[in-house]
């Protein structure tokens, strides 16, 4: 509610009357709009002078509705025709039906929708080229716009209504105030009410009365109106300091309130983006935290296992849709599709386990054929897996083509959620939730299952575990498969937020290794903290430097320096053995 002085000033007598009339008529208009509107428009079309026409259109402001707008649009488009009968009486007509041999159409009267008949009762057909259509001039169009704006304010869809309310503040035209005031009395939606308050205050910033301007400033400051920032800023700088000190003070207050709000929004937005980037890193690195952190294998093909997961998602998506044709090595393979209608949203539920399994299988194959011979030679496992990554990349190129393939993400991922001017994209929220779920699952597997117990035992002391009767070979295999499966999940996940191509994994591999090293090898909690830390640092630097690449380089430099301070990462696994 506005404080009393504003109210008094705003609601001067004539306006009060008009507003009252608008509201009453609007309420009644919601009950029975149809015929009255058509008659008014028909009368307006055939009215004698442009002034009369204008008057009649403006009278429609009492009954703003989508129907009015649609008729006015027809008028503007030239779809209403004027028929002059023999006595010179003009009637507004609409054309209907299809064209006949004489290029003519059947006609309907605009005023009641009945077929237009001549005196003898035979229907009149007219050729649109032979008769005049209802013309408009700029004055009429302006009047029509006023009516349409008002109709938008009364739209049933709250989002459209809010947009109309916000648009009405553009130009700071005080003529719009009565309508906004009227709408405000009926509005129930809190967001729309807030928008109304904001728009009215923005318009009042332009008011000739200093008192009103000050109140408007206070209101906007309280609302943290970003839209009004520039206007308030110009007010704060242009107002004469000597004569209008209060206005200037109020504007400065409002400005600082809005600026601190913007700073908060930016900080929150940065933190949120950093968190989501950190979550991406985390998802990518968690598999590596198992294979590298726990097992000590430098798996340079980790990125390609991510790509395996992403391509699996791609295949599943196509299986749910129209199928897929591939032609690796000149052999053409055609995978039939299920053509499911709801496949667009459903496939992901299948793709997640499928990508886990696919990547885990590839990982098991690698482990059995190559990596198990290299457990004691970590540097050589680095080189061998790099060779594997080259081979896999080229295989992707040969099977799926060198270009990126299209993975469409479900529709619900593209929306966003705005809280207090901070925008939370659903895809980023999804990233964070997904990362949290993966971490929780991994933690459960490692700490609460028999497999996890075996994994920890073997990783701590392979020989001792073997002496206790644990089949270390098998545990190695399972652990590596599990880590690779997590990489596959990361791939399914990355396919939703980025491109899927043969070099998908290469873009993440360095970051993933850095994350694990910084976190401290062999510690999943360390990986979580380091991923989130790197993500937030990266986004913050980006925000302040305004440049993503410089931010990234600085983060890399910071990591190298960080390792000076803690060479073994955040969380050190202490042991008495001397490597």
């Amino acid at each position: 509610m506005f404080p009393p002085p504003v109210r008094r000033a705003a609601l001067c007598a004539s306006l009060l009357l008009q507003v009252g009339a608008v509201v009453v008529m609007w309420l009644s208009a919601r009950a029975e709009a149809g015929p009255a509107v058509r008659e008014t428009i028909a009368a307006a079309v055939t009215a004698a002078t442009p002034d009369e026409q204008r008057e009649m259109i403006l009278s429609l402001k009492a009954t703003p509705s989508p129907e009015v707008v649609s008729w006015l649009d027809k008028w503007k488009e030239g779809a209403i025709f004027i028929y002059q009968d023999d006595e010179g009486k003009a009637t507004a007509l609409l054309l209907t039906g299809s064209q006949d041999a004489a290029d003519s159409y059947a006609t309907l009267r605009l005023s009641d929708g009945a077929p237009m008949c001549a005196a003898d009762g035979s229907p009149i057909r007219i050729n649109p080229k032979a008769v005049d259509f209802a013309d408009t001039d700029s004055g009429l169009r302006r009047a029509m716009k006023e009516v349409a704006d008002l109709a938008a304010l009364a739209d049933a869809d709250p989002d459209k209504r809010i947009r109309a309310i916000q648009d009405s503040a553009i130009g700071q035209n005080s003529d719009k105030l009565p309508a906004l005031e009227a709408v405000r009395l009926l509005e129930k939606n809190p967001k729309a009410l807030r928008a109304l308050e904001e728009s009215m205050a923005i318009i009042r910033l332009n008011s000739p009365e200093p008192e009103q301007r000050i109140t408007a400033c206070n209101t906007l400051g309280r609302l943290h109106s970003i839209a009004a920032r520039d206007m308030i800023k110009s007010m704060a700088t242009e107002t004469d300091a000597a004569t209008d000190k209060d206005t200037r003070t109020a504007a400065n207050h409002a400005l600082s309130a809005i600026d601190s709000h913007i700073a908060t929004i930016n900080a929150l937005g940065t933190a949120f983006r950093g968190l989501s980037l950190g979550s991406v890193l985390l998802v990518v690195a968690i598999g590596l935290a198992i294979t590298f952190g726990l097992m000590g294998i430098i798996n340079m093909a980790h990125g390609e296992l991510i790509a395996v997961g992403a391509y699996t998602t791609y295949i599943i998506q196509n299986v749910f849709a129209a199928g897929l044709k591939l032609s690796p090595f000149g052999v053409s393979i055609s995978i039939p599709g299920l053509n499911l209608h709801s496949g667009g949203n459903l496939y992901f539920a299948v793709a997640l386990p499928a990508s886990f399994i696919a990547a885990a299988l590839v990982g098991l194959l690698l482990e059995r054929t190559v990596i198990r011979f290299l457990y004691r030679r970590p540097l050589e496992s680095l080189l061998a897996t790099w060779g594997i990554s080259l081979v896999l990349q080229q295989l992707f190129r040969l099977i799926f083509g060198a270009n990126n393939v299209q993975v469409t993400s479900p529709l619900w991922l593209s929306g966003n959620w705005t809280v207090n001017d901070v925008v939370f994209g659903w895809n980023r929220v999804f990233v964070i939730v997904f990362a949290a779920a993966i971490i929780a699952a991994t933690w459960l597997v490692i700490n609460k299952t028999p497999l996890g117990l075996l994994i920890r035992a073997v990783m701590q002391n392979r020989n001792m575990a073997a002496c206790m009767g644990i089949r270390t070979e098998r545990v190695n295999m399972m652990t590596f498969g599990f880590g690779c499966g997590l990489a596959g999940l990361a791939g399914a996940f990355l396919s939703q937020i980025g491109n899927v191509g043969p070099s998908l994994g290469q873009n993440y591999i360095v970051d993933a290794f850095m994350t694990v090293v910084v976190g401290g090898v062999g510690n999943i909690l360390g990986t979580v903290i380091s991923a989130l830390g790197i993500g937030v640092a990266d986004q913050t630097l980006q925000q302040y430097l305004g440049n993503p690449v410089t931010g990234k380089i600085l983060v890399l430099a910071a990591i190298i320096l960080f390792l000076q301070w803690r060479p073994a990462g955040l969380f050190v696994t202490r042991s008495r053995s001397l490597d």
Partner: protein
């Protein structure tokens, strides 16, 4: 890994002959038209890679430090030389300006201060060694001081290279962005696009290679080399014996960076282009592949590996462009798994196999039946 390096078993005269062949015979044959200019130029490139491979081997094969940043030092050397060459273009560029073309294109009207001294060739030559050397010194000091070793060292050098590549891809570093430097004209007053200049560049490369190999051989045979190998085999024992291992490693790291940089500086005028894609971690890994394939822990193996892999690459990427990466990756996996000592180690491996076979035969000799069965089948 306590066996004597394979290199010591390769005879001196063969190596001497190989050196003479590379330095004298090949250019001479080219002079009389028996070797095409293109081939000689290609070999110049291979030998540059060979020098880089020796630098990697010095670090990896002899000191146990797998550095994935050697391509960075190589291209830094190349960039230094490239800056000089860019200035030597003078007004012959597209825009007929004293400035390098890319600067005109970016809207600069004045040469940035740090480019000015590169008009001088001696300064450039000093920078070729100093810039990568300093980077290696600072990075190595930080890394070795906090005892980062093994795979962590590899991952950190990889990150360093990655970060540097990102930096060099940027236009505002004023070193040509992702196009890098190209379209060179002259070096020390002679036209780079004529065969004679290229031949001299080849000779310089071959000489440098021979010098580097000889120098490294001397170094690794000295007492210093002994400590170096001791560090590789058991750093803690060396440390506990009272040696400051970090300083030894730092010296080797800086020396290796400088050798790679010198190779890069010779590479650029021969290939005619340098851009940031040369300094990516993948390039470093590729170079490590040459060393592993040729045989690390020997100074000739890496050269052999660099030349043979690149010759194979030149051929296969033309004949089977789709298969090339499969061949490289696959052969690499096989070499790591079955030929830990690389090509150079094959004779020893065969000899070992033969010895085992002989021993087995000696054991089964009293009973001739299985032997005849074997010949039958």
């Amino acid at each position: 890994m306590t066996t004597t390096p394979v290199s010591s078993r390769v005879h001196g005269p063969i190596l001497f002959l190989a050196a003479v062949f590379l330095v004298v015979v090949m250019p001479a044959l080219n002079c009389y038209g028996l070797i095409a200019d293109f081939t000689l130029n290609l070999w110049g490139k291979y030998l540059c890679y060979g020098i880089m491979a020796v630098a990697i081997d010095l670090l990896w094969g002899y000191t146990g430090l797998l550095c994935l940043g050697q391509a960075l030092f190589f291209s830094l050397g190349g960039y230094m030389m490239g800056m000089h060459l860019m200035l030597m273009i003078g007004k012959l560029g597209q825009y007929k300006s004293d400035l390098p073309d890319f600067m005109v294109f970016l809207g600069h009207s004045q040469l940035p201060g740090f480019w000015q001294p590169f008009y001088s060739f001696p300064f450039t030559l000093a920078m070729v060694f100093l810039v990568p050397g300093l980077l290696a010194l600072v990075f190595g000091f930080l890394a070795f001081r906090s005892r980062i070793k093994g795979v962590y060292f590899s991952i950190l050098t990889q990150a360093l290279t990655y970060g540097a590549a990102l930096l060099f891809f940027r236009n505002d570093l004023l070193v040509g962005g992702n196009n890098g430097f190209t379209d060179f004209r002259t070096l020390l007053g002679s036209d780079l696009r004529i065969a004679t200049t290229q031949r001299w560049l080849y000779i310089a490369t071959a000489l440098l290679l021979v010098a580097v190999v000889a120098g490294c051989k001397w170094l690794t045979k000295s007492r210093f080399g002994l400590i170096q190998r001791a560090i590789r085999d058991s750093e803690n024992r060396v440390l506990f014996s009272g040696y400051a291992t970090a300083n030894f490693k730092l010296f080797i790291f800086v020396a290796s960076a400088m050798i790679a940089a010198a190779a890069g500086a010779l590479y650029v005028p021969q290939v005619g282009i340098i851009n940031p894609s040369e300094m990516t971690p993948e390039k470093s890994l590729e170079a490590v592949v040459w060393v592993a394939l040729g045989g690390r822990g020997s100074l000739y193996g890496p050269v052999l590996g660099a030349v043979s892999v690149n010759a194979l690459k030149s051929w296969a990427s033309r004949a089977y462009p789709d298969m090339w990466l499969l061949i490289l990756g696959g052969s690499f996996v096989l070499v790591v798994m079955f030929m830990p000592k690389g090509i150079i180690g094959i004779p020893a491996q065969i000899a070992g196999l033969a010895a085992r076979l002989r021993r087995r035969r000696a054991e089964v000799a009293p009973d001739p039946a299985p032997a005849t069965q074997m010949t039958d089948s």
